[in-house]
Amino acid sequence: MTELQAVGKSVARLEGRAKVTAATQYGVDLKFPGMLYARILRSPYAHARVGRIDTSAASAMPGVRAIVTIDDSPDVSYNAVYSGLSDKFVKHLVQDQHVFDEVVRYVGEPVAAVAADDPLIAERALELIEVDYDPMPDVLSAEAALAPGAPLVHAGSPGNVVGRPIVFQMGDLDQGFAEADLVLEERYTTPRHQGIPMEPHVCVASWDPQGKVTIWTSTQIPFRVRFVLARILGIPEGRIRIIMPEVGGGFGAKQEVSIEPICALLAKKAGRPVKLELNRSEEFACTTTRHGAIMDLRMGAKKDGTLTAMDGQLILDTGAYVAHGLGVATLASISFTGIYRCPNLRYQARVVYTNLPISGALRGFGQFQVLFPIESHMDMLAEKLGMDPLDIRLKNHIQVGEPDPRTRFIIESCGLDECIEEGARRIGWKEKRNDHGEGTVRRGVGMSCIMDVSGAKPFLPEQSAAMIKCNEDGSVALLTGVADTGQGIRTTLAQIVAEELGIDTEQVHVTAGDTEITPFDLGNYASRTTYVAGMAVRKAAQEVKNKLSEIASEMMEARLEDLVWEKGGIYPKGAPQKAVPVTQVARYAQHTKAVSVMGSATHTPPHNAPGFQAHFVDIEVDTETGRVKVLRVVAANDVGKAINPQDCEGQIEGGVIQGIGFAMGEELRFDESGHPINARFSEYEVPGPDGLPEIETVLVEPIEPSGAYGAKGIGDIVVTSMAPAIANAIYNATGARIRHLPLTPERVLEALDENRRAGAGDLS
């Protein structure tokens, strides 16, 4: 391969200048002539039948232009996610949501909405809407929902379990446990986390006289929003245009249809554009969270550390509606079975309704709930077997050439050994493992390994498409359906085009995320865009290159197969002095040949190219206060080829800090009536800039044959290691084991107490 010019370089963001000057337009910045502002009236009850809704006083208020309630709601049930788009998938979908329903099932569920001349009028109009509620018994935890005789969240779901449990079994579990020299069983819990993108959910809807609606929305999935809206609004996809403005973060929180239907209904009724922007307390309390989970995990191993059996029983709290519930349970099965070889295993997940907000996608999708348990368990097994935690992982992890047992896809690249070895060396594993210091503040190191898919194959019909138009100045326009929510995918894709065509990255003008203009893409989730869209873009660029080569061959009177592309020029083999710049070929094509050079491609990947990571932490634990301080993190990631190393580092650094938040403090909590009690920035512990550890990132780059230039995904995996790594480090420092997140000082003190009672004695 010739030396790469654009791929593998830390190219600065194409939209960087616009972002630092605020020339960008986020959804919150949009304004149109005649635009109205909407607010949502929300249920104060966790479970209630909605009776009469009297909007007469609100309607009479000057400046109020439209009000929508259940009377305006299409009688259509839907799933806000549409986990898959093929008929096969849709057939199995649980469709339990309505825009407005006769029953509200969580505090904050929309009951009505108002569009008015300004947000203040809309807010005041909400106070004038009278709603009769008939409160019903509620269930506010998965345990309560599963108790015999528990009130039902949905009448059609006995026992509050959604559909049938998701089950995956392999080998002979009984035999596997019989063969084990050691069997260990524990219960773990992981909480509801909020994604908290800095920009709230916001959209603007506007109907034209032909009955076509355009919606600008802060989303990760423009094409899937269009698909779900078509069903809800009862119009074909082609009459709906979804446009992504600049989006201020997503992390999974914007991975389903949320406020768009209400906004579209209001805009239609008012006959004017309507903007609906959530405030921060709505963001915390009424948008999707991570599924809280309970996992019972039993694992068996031989004396030499070989795993013989794994049995995991997972309960996921999906809240009031299923949305992503079955998707998380399904993807979690790969997290459960994928990383470590084990011939006998059983995975069983139940998705449970509760009267809490809808659980949804969140970075670490399908990983967090099963890998905190597994990675804690691996350390416990290692200790009981007298092994180093690194060795039990090195011994059991999946290798190149082996199939992922769940998907049967063969692993084609794996840099996990190097991640573990390099991470261990840099953190000082050997030296620090047995040096805990003296006194009440103890030091410890811990680590964890994760494997995560790039894209959701085989569960979703993974696909991305791309179109490239050549401009006569030699620059190109790239049209892609991907959703750039801040991760920088537009720049990454531009680098791939620039590499193929031998032009500068700045000469690739990217338009993304507009369902009318850009070709189809499933959206930004599951660490898929670099892996899936990257290859679509590369193929489209190759088509452009082939067409330009044909033109160049004619221009230069050289044989097509003799042409060499190098450093922005094309020349016949052996005659670099005759090089013609690509820009000149493009100009010749358009103006002399009258040929518009364009390329397009759709790509569906052969499998899901898992990425791997080993993250290490060095911590101290104050055994008097229970306070844990993470001093240093070494984060080693197998990302395949890093198309943009700086952006890969940015993903890792950001993911690690989110992961520390998810591990140490973040948890959305509710009172006994189902109202959230910490639904604000100042009470929900989002990591700030101070008191954070030093982070050292390591990029390990095995070439993944199925990804563009060898690339794989990076987005999701990076948040998942911190919780088990820190829990393992707390154990290493103090001998106290914590199985429940977050790892708060209270839990540390409890675990230390438990240890003392168990006779482990005082630390000092």
Partner: protein, 162 residues
């Protein structure tokens, strides 16, 4: 529906502005909703996250927690006022170069907090930088590259690039 408005004047990015506002309006609402200066952003609306940070008489403030009336006769600098003649401020340049932004929503606020810091202390330590940013939350970057960008800009600014 018309609500009572009162006239105020202030200097925004070097230009005197006369505007009628509602007394209840915050500085953030004045900037965003009346003057279309959208670089100051609603984040938490409780004086915590700093997405709305601007400079008021050279001091970084959360504009969601300042009444517009309090800005009467004072000087406000927003992110829109930082670049001069199309030339980015060294802090803006450094944020782009170092990958100190991802979604970019918090970036204007953080850049203005950093500018306030550097005008007080031209070569701050990493600890000082982090301490000075406690009023600014970034959910994307993990802050590492933000600190690096500020350090790099500090060097450039000291060299007279400002």
């Amino acid at each position: 529906m018309r609500r009572k408005r009162v006239p105020i004047s202030l200097v925004v990015n070097g230009e005197e502005v006369f505007v009628d506002i509602e007394p209840r309006q915050t500085l953030l609402e004045l900037l965003r909703d009346e003057l279309d200066l959208t670089g100051a952003r609603r984040g938490c609306e409780e004086n915590f996250c700093g997405a709305c940070t601007v400079m008021l008489d050279g001091v970084a403030v959360h504009s969601c927690s300042v009444l517009a009336l309090q800005a009467q006769g004072r000087k406000v600098t927003t992110i829109e006022g930082l670049a001069t003649n199309g030339q980015l401020h060294p802090l803006q340049e450094a944020f782009v170069e170092h990958g100190a932004l991802q979604c970019g929503y918090c970036s204007p606020g953080i850049i203005l907090s950093a500018l306030a810091l550097l005008s007080e202390e031209p070569r701050p330590t990493e600890e000082k930088i982090r301490d000075s940013l406690v009023g600014n939350t970034c959910r994307c970057t993990g802050y590492v590259k933000i600190v690096q960008a500020i350090q790099s800009a500090a060097v450039k600014m000291e060299g007279g690039a400002l």
